[in-house]
Amino acid sequence: MGLSLQGLGVLAQYPGYKLWNQTDVFKKSFAQASDATSSIQADFLQEKSLTMLSEKINSTGRFMYRKKDQVRLEYLQPYPYLVILNAGKLYLKDGQKENKISAGSNPIFKQINRIMIDCVSGTMLDNPDFESRIFENEGTWLIEFKPRAKNLKDLYKNINLVLDKKDFTASSISMYEVSGDKTIIRFQNKQLNAQIPDSAFNIP
């Protein structure tokens, strides 16, 4: 009875998805796909929904990832803004203003950015800050991450990652806040293993 109720809850939460219990099988396939992926480039659409205000903030830009821990998020709309993560360092550029965030200066912001790397590099399931459940439908995997760490738990109910079944690359990352607001980043026009110059990840 308990199991069937839980099953119903899951179906209601993620229509079309079924719970997948073979975590080890999934992890192995994910690891194999990640091994074969040295870089990802994609366009992204980000939608921040402010529930109480019934408003959305839409942003677009270009995403780049290179193994092992380099990410570049270049926002183009509604205004240019650059985020680079490289070897644990975070660089932000807002117009002429540059901000380098060192370890420990803003742990929660750093954690959020770490999540992004984990999501694309396949290491999220090993992150002790989250407990995870895996769901599947015909074409995608949905991995639900619930924060364990208090600072993340105060902010996020869960973070969901949707992966394409064919290559295990992220189709979307959805961050559901405790407040009811959410941010969804959708990736399009993905290009795998293309050469990305070092300069894309340089932190000046």
């Binding site: 980000q46 205000l53 903030i57 926002y75 807002d94 929660i108 912001f109 105060d154 607001d181």
Partner: protein
């Protein structure tokens, strides 16, 4: 230097300050209608600003939304570019105020109070017409609205054709200056600058067009 001249210098400085540090001391009290200020009040029905705040060398940026709600309150929500929330404030009717959400890094009584007062100044809140008074230096009128502590000034030209600057002041001198820059479109100014004069803190807002039409 002998001790005596230092004491003399300090005394002279204190004396000079007594006469000059009060910015509003030499202004003349005048009779002026309190409806002058109302016409400069932006409606802020629904507006999105690219926002940056520089505090003592630290720079944060993101998107700030000001929205007039159906219950007559005004919400101000600030998130960073990646959607990470900084704060969500509600400016309620009857001068009420509610913190719906604030990131732990900003969750400090002094920070919240400072931001609340800064936004109250640009939202034209807490303007009690009974306590209102006006001062002038000739070309400008200082429309004064006493607050629980300090006074909010809306400074216009003498004919009340233009809002020149807004000030949040202690009893003697301005502590915050705010300006609307550029045109008023979509019922909100194109840019807003809020600058603290007693410590290094500036908030700059630049409107992102088209949001109100969404």
């Amino acid at each position: 230097m002998p001790r005596y001249p230092i004491r003399l210098l300090i005394s002279l400085s204190a004396l000079a300050c007594l006469f000059s540090c009060n910015t509003y001391r030499n202004l003349q009290k005048i009779q002026a209608p309190d409806n002058c200020v109302q016409k400069f009040k932006p409606l802020f029905e629904k507006v999105m600003y690219k926002t940056s705040a520089d505090v003592k060398g630290n720079h944060i940026s993101g998107v700030l939304i000001i929205k007039a709600m159906e219950d007559s309150s005004t919400r101000i929500v600030f998130t960073n570019e990646m959607g990470f929330p900084y704060f969500d404030f509600g400016f309620l009717t009857n001068n009420g105020f509610k913190v719906y959400q604030i990131t732990p890094k900003l969750n400090n009584k002094y920070v919240i109070r400072t931001l609340k007062k800064d936004f109250e100044l640009i939202l034209f809140r807490n303007r009690d017409s009974i306590r209102y008074f006006a001062l002038t230096d000739g070309p400008r009128i200082y429309h004064a609205y006493p607050q629980a502590s300090g006074i909010n000034y809306y400074i216009t030209d003498s004919c009340c054709r233009q809002l020149l600057i807004m000030q949040r002041a202690s009893d003697k001198k301005p502590v915050v200056e705010a300006r609307f820059v550029g045109n008023i479109s979509e019922n909100a100014p194109d840019s807003i600058i809020i600058r603290h004069l007693n410590f290094n803190f500036t908030i700059s807002l630049k409107k992102i067009s088209g949001f109100a039409a969404q």
